[in-house]
Amino acid sequence: MLDIRNLQVRADDKDILKGIDLHVNAGEVHAIMGPNGSGKSTLARALSGHPEYAVTGGEVTFEGKDLLAMDPDERAREGVFMAFQYPVEIAGVNNANFLKAALNAKRKHNGQPELDAYEFISLVKEKSKLLEIDDSMLKRAVNEGFSGGEKKRNEIFQLALLEPRLAILDETDSGLDIDALKLVSAGVNAMRSPDRAFIVVTHYQRLLAYIVPDYVHVLSGGKIVKSGGKELALELEAKGYGWIDAA
């Protein structure tokens, strides 16, 4: 599904990713771990097309298409979704209207008719239960005044509504208490399917106890320095990141 070859990314006048190779198949969950500053979030943002992250080398294909040639919105419509580490507050834009616009942008792209108000509400009702999204969160402006937990739930709620092929979770666990973490994880797990892949970027093993990965990759100094199965995450938890850099 996703093929990353020798990806190099620059941001803030610094070379951050120095040659990433990663192959992700449909149905798989890949965890990207690593110490602060290793480039984990840079990888997530570069894949989503953030304009401040400049690709200086390498290739990324998604479903056989050149992902790097696409605008961020094209990537989203093609089925790439990033759950933001810091979801943006957008004053004056009603959350429900925003969700509807996002859904319809994708449906239009897929040649499906746009949802009418009734169909949209039915879909929202169905998907909102698991993530405990209440009416007030839909009526408020996008992320405005949301608590940290509400923001992350709203991200995963969008994931559930948009049903992407590839979901990239950028430190979705940061700042969550254990209840919120469980809620968010349950939302993600409900979305796991043989057609869908996940890249889960996290600093901590804690999240991976709930979202169990198939593969774990350790990023350090802008490169993947170690890959393994889910047991690698436990090893990192026990030993910390120090031994990776030393190796």
Partner: protein, 433 residues
């Protein structure tokens, strides 16, 4: 300035009016067109108005067609004033409650002589305001609305002022007088329109008197030709426990100056002054507002928002006066501008003059560009750059548009705003994403 035109100013009618016209003409001759040395016009150079030899506007052809293509000009109750003259044929006055009068100001000088004489010119100052003096020198007709005590008018009364000519550069001096009796309620919309591409000068003055415990909701929709000049002054006076709201939408004009002033002259009055303006190309839009808290326990709320593109310029000056007696005043002013291009500029100034000690006055100004992170967030959810930007502009304008209680007007204004924006933004799209 305009000396030839002033010689051709109308005459006749009641004696007091002739005197007032003469005073207006004399004051305009003395004051002339303001210059940037005048504090009230510091950032707005109106010398281009004086540079054109505008002649008083007369009869024109195709007036019915001239109403097409503007926001809500098909309102069920409609007063049409063409080049300052009330047009009986195009006006629709049916459906108003008994006792309510809406029609020609010229006719009212005869039919409602006492009321007109009592209120006319009481707020619009010819002594110091040169454009008001000029307007007053030319008073002959316009719109007059009178709502008797205790009457509620459900249907909004839409006054459409058309300015234009078949050839040559003309000026018109639209005039409106609204008198709402005690306990009455009425909505008045004033629209200013003109033919695309025409260069003319529209110099409007409106006076609104809100009686005790009455409510007047006033809308001004300025959609002049983008090559025209518009100077407009709205004056409102509120009595005890009266409510006045003004919603100003400035979409047209090459140079457009809009003064909105309210005197809260009775205890417990409430006043809202909201505005939304859109400037593009090399256009200039200037909003000057004054809220005069003359009596205690009055509240005022003010939100002005501007969207600026191209190399446009905007001016906002928001004056709040709290008189010594006006204790327990609660005044809130917000003004924000969204600059869509690097070439757009705004000069903004809150001006608080507070002479009472037990008052609450707040003001805030914010000027900025579209938030790149918000744009990216929306794009990451599949919306195109243009869709994301429109959504954010919509959200910005929403606060003022949402205050429009006349639903068909709000819908039409939204459409107009985005239609106009789309043309400018199409150019910007080429430049950057």
């Amino acid at each position: 300035m305009f000396a030839g035109a002033l010689d051709k100013r109308p005459q006749g009618g009641p004696r007091w009016l002739d005197d007032l016209r003469n005073r207006g003409a004399a004051r305009f001759a003395a004051l002339g067109i303001p210059t940037v040395r005048d504090e009230e016009w510091r950032f707005t150079n109106v010398s281009p108005i004086g540079a054109i030899d505008f002649t008083p506007a007369g009869q024109i052809s195709g007036t019915a067609e001239r109403l097409n293509g503007f926001a809500y000009t098909d309102a069920p109750v409609r007063l049409v004033v063409v080049n300052g003259r009330f047009d009986t044929t195009l006006s629709r006055l049916k459906g108003l409650p008994p006792g309510v009068h809406a029609g020609s100001l010229g006719d009212a000088l005869k039919d409602y002589a006492d009321i007109v004489q009592r209120y006319f010119g009481q707020l619009a100052d010819v002594q110091t305001r040169s454009f008001t003096a000029l307007n007053t020198a030319f008073v002959q007709d316009g719109a007059f609305i009178h709502v008797p005590d205790g009457v509620t008018v459900e249907a909004p009364i839409h006054v459409v002022f058309v300015t234009g000519s078949d050839d040559g550069h003309v000026m018109a001096h639209p005039r409106t007088l609204v008198v709402a009796g005690a306990g009455s309620q009425v909505t008045v919309i004033e629209s200013y329109v003109g033919g695309a591409g025409e260069t003319y000068f529209s110099n409007a003055v409106s006076e609104v008197f809100v009686g005790e415990n009455a409510g007047v909701d006033h809308y001004k929709v300025q959609q002049e030709s983008l090559d025209a000049f518009h100077v407009g002054a709205l004056h409102a006076h509120t009595s005890r426990s009266a409510r006045f709201s003004s919603h100003s939408f400035a979409l047209g004009g090459r140079i457009a100056r809009n003064d909105a002033s309210a005197i809260l002259d009775g205890e417990g009055g409430e006043c809202t002054l909201n505005g939304l303006y859109l400037a593009d190309r090399e256009r200039l839009i200037d909003n000057h507002t004054t809220i005069d808290h003359a009596k205690p326990h009055c509240g005022s709320h003010e939100v002005y928002k501007g969207i600026l593109g191209g190399r446009s310029r905007a001016v906002f000056n928001g004056k709040i006066i709290v008189r010594q007696d006006a204790q327990k005043t609660d005044a809130k002013q917000t003004n924000r501008a969204l600059l869509l291009t690097d070439g757009a500029t705004i000069n903004t100034k809150p001006q608080l003059e507070i002479f009472a000690d037990d008052v609450k006055c707040t003001h805030g100004a914010a000027i900025g560009q579209l938030d790149d992170e918000a744009i990216f967030y929306l794009r990451a959810r599949g919306m195109t750059y243009a869709e994301a930007r429109d959504m954010l502009i919509h959200a910005f304008a929403g606060q003022v548009l949402d205050g429009v209680a006349v639903e068909p007007l709000r819908t039409a204004l939204e459409a107009e705003l985005f239609d106009q924006l789309a043309k400018d933004l199409a150019e910007a799209d080429g430049a950057g994403k």
